[in-house]
């Protein structure tokens, strides 16, 4: 088999999954080694992936696989997160039950994501999409208990999305007679505009479910909160990006020529903006670290959708850049929260506190990640947001700028709450013996990703190069003077020099830090966090004065009119109503033989009456 071909690539990915599963029964170490090897080899193979396409017939349909620059970029995201995820799982999952199942599903999920990306036709995309859905569903319910509920919710939302996609696929197939995206796109433009709108609408709806776009985000908080932490990193970081991938494909490969393209994209951009704003507000309310991050993910994906929907080269660059960066820093955050959970068994922000001296590396990871998330220079997050704002302003979306900026600023609130509640505040006696997580399997993935945020902050060109080729593939004009290795330009010709920026920030920071450290160094004392000014009181050992509960009460009061309504509750209500209606329908089956006999007779009478009437 050609080792640069897609089949080999997928064979490695899927085969590794089953091999790891089988080897679990031989030895734990072997399983881990194979799992790590699988993801690393497939990540490495991405570099040598050949251009040729590959077709196979299955059930009367021709499935075509092949790579495009666009899919390669997303595959890069997957690979970038898959390796740390698997590495992080080793120690993390050692405590959990059914590790074999976990690795099987994890690796299948990863492989299915590659499959989605390398599908050139809609059906194989759908097949891999569903494989990804069920394997991630199984991962979500891995913990059992509450996770089951969350998992089912996730699956149902996903199923709604997936079947919307399938609906369109069937119709598109019927129209064009081919499943290849190119052919579909070609015959798509020949349809009447309303049909185009319907099809693109259902497709976009389906993909946006995975991306967690409001109002279809209801699964995200529960699923992210309940799934095992390493997988959550992949879930939020890479899996949700599949929705973005699909939306990009639909918008720019199929739907672009339609007369409805522009209004739909405009609508989508607003949906993204509103999603980011509302999800940010919800994130501020959360008291569970993982739920907080879940809402944050929804919000961040909202940004990506904004950029994706605007469709200017700059905005697309922004969208894809944020897609990568969000994957990285959200993975860091989920890893760190997972590390904390691993050591303390807690994710409740009201109970955690003061871990900074116990888990400094996790703290550093979270710090880097939230600086990146809050778009503060000099880390990578800033670059993405800069591109996004510039593109928004230059494409005359002034109010969208405000919405985006609002949620970006409001995101300081929840990131601060996250880092404060977990790591800062008074140290708790309960956590006295908490140790930092092991280096190789848990710290290393976190630190490696932290390094990525740092490097992309200085040299975004590393990421912008593949993005540019991906965008060129999608048909965007990318001029080579839009960016250089460490400089960005907007369409008005203004530039921002990231290298100068980091030098200034770095120099000033180091100077300030040195002055602070050296000046009266010997008279500077460390005191414990119990030694604080509390009107002269000494907090006893069991007293903890950290202010964590209802942390943003004033803010919540200010935005109460918005927060008092819930889309999720509304959708849940619909679900409940359907369920109750089903319950009601069950009364048809009374359990009484006479009734059933009457049904038969009445049905026959009805048939005969209808027949005679028709005649």
């Amino acid at each position: 088999m050609d080792i640069t071909g897609i089949p080999f690539f997928l064979a490695v990915s899927f085969g590794g999954a089953f091999l790891a599963y089988l080897l679990h029964f031989a030895h734990r170490f072997l399983r881990n080694a194979v799992a790590l090897l699988t993801v690393s080899v497939s990540a490495a193979l991405l570099f040598w992936l050949g251009d040729e396409t590959f077709s196979i017939e299955m059930g009367g349909f021709i499935l075509t696989l092949g790579k495009t620059p666009y899919s390669l970029f997303f595959a890069g995201i997957v690979a970038l997160l898959a390796v740390p995820t698997v590495l992080f799982s080793f120690t993390y999952m050692a405590k959990e039950e059914r590790p074999a199942m976990y690795y099987l599903n994890l690796l299948i999920t990863i492989a299915a994501m590659y499959g989605i990306l390398f599908s050139l036709d809609l059906l194989s995309l759908f097949i891999f999409w569903e494989i990804m859905t069920w394997s991630s569903f199984l991962l979500t319910i891995h913990k059992g208990g509450n996770a089951t509920k969350a998992g089912v919710k996730y699956f149902l939302y996903s199923a709604a999305g997936a079947y919307a996609i399938l609906f369109s696929i069937v119709i598109l197939f019927n129209m064009s007679g081919s499943l290849l995206i190119e052919d579909v796109a070609r015959s798509f433009v020949l349809q009447n505009p309303l049909m185009q709108l319907m099809l693109a609408g259902t497709l976009l709806f389906g993909f946006s479910v995975k991306a967690g776009l409001m109002p279809m985000h209801g699964w995200a908080p529960d699923a992210y909160a309940e799934s095992p932490a390493p997988f959550t990193a992949l879930f939020s970081g890479a899996l949700s990006k599949m929705g973005i991938f699909g939306m990009g494909m639909v918008l720019y490969q199929i739907f672009l020529q339609s007369p409805f393209s522009l209004p739909v994209r405009e609508l989508l951009a607003w949906a993204g903006g509103i999603t980011s704003a509302l999800a940010t507000l919800r994130a501020i309310q959360q008291t569970d670290a993982k739920r907080l991050l879940a809402y944050s993910s929804v919000a961040q994906l909202g940004y990506i959708v904004i950029g994706l929907a605007l469709g200017t080269p700059l905005s697309m660059m922004a969208a894809l850049f944020i897609a990568l960066l969000h994957g990285v820093f959200k993975a860091m955050l989920f890893f760190a929260v997972g590390a904390v959970y691993f050591r303390t068994g807690l994710t409740d922000l009201n109970e955690l506190r003061g871990l900074i001296r116990r888990m400094p590396v996790s703290f550093l990871t979270v710090l880097m990640a939230i600086i990146s998330l809050a778009n503060i220079p000099p880390l990578g997050g800033f670059v993405g947001k800069w591109l996004l704002y510039e593109s928004l302003i230059q494409s005359d979306h002034y109010f969208l700028v405000i919405v985006a900026f609002f949620s970006s600023t409001a995101s300081f609130l929840y990131v601060y709450r996250l880092i404060f509640s977990i790591f800062l505040g008074q140290e708790e006696k309960e956590f006295e013996h908490v140790k930092e997580v092991p280096f190789l399997t848990m710290q290393l993935p976190m630190l490696a990703l932290a390094a990525v945020t740092f490097i992309t902050g200085i040299f975004p060109g590393i990421v912008l190069a593949p993005i540019s080729s991906a965008l060129t593939y999608l048909g965007f004009p990318i001029y080579h003077d839009m960016w250089s290795m460490s400089m960005l330009f907007n369409e008005w010709g203004n530039r921002i020099n990231l290298l100068a920026m980091i030098s200034v920030i770095g120099t000033v920071f180091l100077t300030g830090f040195t002055i602070l450290s050296l000046y009266r160094m010997r008279r500077t004392r460390y005191v414990t966090t119990k030694d604080i000014h509390t009107s002269g009181e000494v907090p006893t050992e069991n007293e903890n004065l950290t202010y964590a509960i209802n942390f943003y009460q004033p803010f919540e009061r200010a935005v109460y009119p918005v927060l008092s309504k819930s889309i999720r509750a509304w959708i849940d209500w619909i679900g409940r109503s359907v369920s109750e209606f089903g319950d009601f329908l069950r009364h048809i089956y009374t359990g009484d033989g006479q009734t059933y006999a009457w049904y038969v007779v009445l049905f026959l009478t009805f048939m005969l009456a209808a027949g005679s009437w028709l005649l």
Partner: protein, 488 residues
């Protein structure tokens, strides 16, 4: 054929019936024969299938009973479609036997196996026969053994369910018999092929009435809404292996009969649309009814009805793709639902509450895995068999431009996913009674065979493509059927 004695489709019916009559005698000799004989019978029938089915795919085998040529004599029509179903039935019979070896403990076992074999024989007879009265007889055989099996566990509520089944089932027989009588009075023939040719003798209004009678009669066995009231009770009352057979065999046989009769005798557009709509209604209502169901077997029963509704909806399209899809859905359903019934029974036993699944993921990992597999397959997730069947249904609908139907089917799939995943999730709940119990190998083997089928079709849907295409052709091509039967 270099056999000791010539194999013929008759053996499908004859062998189980013979074995059923022999069983009480054999039981006198040794108790252990009771268990072995049915297995041997099913194996033999499977062997017959293995030999005959490839031939049937090429050209239908038409067997005349007692040497009388049609239309005077009774004939068996063993075409691709019939062959497919007959093989499927005997295979399911074998698997259920395998499963019952250890899981079925309710005495008298000999009577259980007699009824089992009669059920299979009757259903196979429905599929094979070319004579409409014979069809009625076989239907009665099937129905009576089904009634008895429903009440086999001999508890009050089971008896009640059995009684309901008898009540409704006898209505069905009455209507079918009435229909046959009317047809006979007009045409003077009972042979299906001959009837098909002489249908113009029957006035249109009578045809409509007879169609209505047949629809109700077969519809009751095929679980069409609102005629399926018996089904939830019967499924939950019968021992699970029998329920698996209900889902896999009786319903399929009735569906076959309905399809065959409708296509041969009542090929007007209205009837097809009606069947399609009825299928959709059945699908929607059963899936919704299953949504809140706490009783596992009832849940599976509703789901069964839903799946049959899906198949009927596809069948009602009456295009080659539609029938192909319907066949695919039926096969998929027979395998998957059979497996689910068996797996659930092996895990939760007769107690059918959903809570009994709690924590099974730890106690019985293999069966839980199989259940999960089955649930995924029936929801229609790739790469399992259900996906391809559902996809073929959808494309068939798409080709006729019925986008609304597609939407309805997909929407019900979401409902289906809800309750199946709720059940799947239960498996992996942490709580649950910590009772350890070994599942016997035979049960696991039976379930595993079906699971292998799911995976096989899932990964190689092309492998049954040929059979299904031939089956669809066979069903739709009425001219070929009548010619084939009447040429001798």
């Amino acid at each position: 054929m270099p056999e000791l004695f010539p194999l013929s489709p008759v053996h499908y019916v004859a062998a189980p019936l013979l074995a059923a009559f022999l069983l009480p005698l054999v039981a006198k000799l040794s108790r252990s024969f009771i268990k072995i004989l049915p297995g041997l019978t099913f194996l033999y029938v499977l062997y017959v299938s293995a030999v005959l089915f490839p031939h049937a795919l090429q050209s239908p085998i038409i067997e005349q009973i007692a040497g009388w040529a049609p239309p005077l004599g009774i004939n068996l029509y063993y075409g691709p479609m019939a062959g497919l179903f007959a093989s499927l039935f005997s295979a399911l019979g074998f698997i259920v036997w395998l499963y019952s070896l250890t899981q079925m403990k309710q005495e008298p076992l000999d009577r259980f196996y007699i009824l089992l074999m009669m059920l299979v024989a009757g259903a196979t007879g429905i599929v094979l026969t070319g004579d409409i009265f014979n069809l009625f007889v076989f239907m009665e055989i099937t129905a009576i053994s089904a009634f008895s099996l429903t009440a086999f566990l001999r508890e009050d509520d089971k008896a009640e369910a059995g009684f309901k089944y008898i009540l409704i089932g006898s209505l069905a027989s009455t209507f079918v018999l009435l229909g046959i009588a009317v047809l006979y009075s007009y045409t003077g023939t009972l042979n299906l092929a001959d009837l098909a040719l002489s249908m113009e003798k029957v006035p249109l209004s009578v045809r409509v009435i007879v169609f209505g009678l047949f629809l109700v009669g077969f519809g009751i066995e095929a679980e069409i809404f609102p005629l399926n009231g018996w089904a939830p009770d019967a499924y939950s009352a019968a021992p699970a292996p029998v329920s698996a057979l209900f889902a896999g065999i009786t319903v399929k046989a009735a569906l076959y009969a309905l399809a065959r009769v409708t296509i041969l005798l009542f090929p007007f557009a209205g009837s097809m649309a009606l069947i399609s709509i009825l299928g959709l209604v059945t699908l929607v209502i059963s899936e919704l009814a299953a949504l809140h169901q706490k009783n596992l077997f009832r849940m599976l029963a509703y789901s069964s009805m839903g799946q049959v509704g899906l198949a009927i909806a596809a069948l009602g399209l009456f295009t080659a793709e539609g029938v192909y899809a319907a066949l695919f859905a039926m096969i998929n359903h027979a395998i998957v639902k059979g497996m689910l019934f068996l797996a659930v029974f092996a895990m939760a036993g007769g107690s059918a509450n959903l809570d009994n699944l709690n924590g099974m993921g730890r106690k019985k990992p293999v069966l839980s895995f199989m259940f999960t597999l089955g649930a995924f397959a029936i929801i229609g997730l790739p790469p399992f068999s259900g996906f391809w069947s559902k996809l073929s249904v959808l494309t068939a609908m798409g080709q006729t431009g019925n986008y609304i139907m597609i939407a309805i089917v997909l929407a019900t799939t979401i409902v289906e996913a809800t309750y199946y995943l709720r059940a799947t999730g239960r498996l992996y709940l942490s709580e649950g009674s910590p009772v350890e119990s070994k599942t016997p190998l035979s049960a696991i083997a039976a379930v595993a065979v079906l699971a292998a089928g799911i995976l096989w079709i899932g990964f190689f849907p092309g492998s049954i493509d040929e059979i299904l295409t031939a089956g669809a052709q066979d069903l739709l091509d009425t001219a070929k059927y009548t010619e084939g039967v009447l040429k001798d």
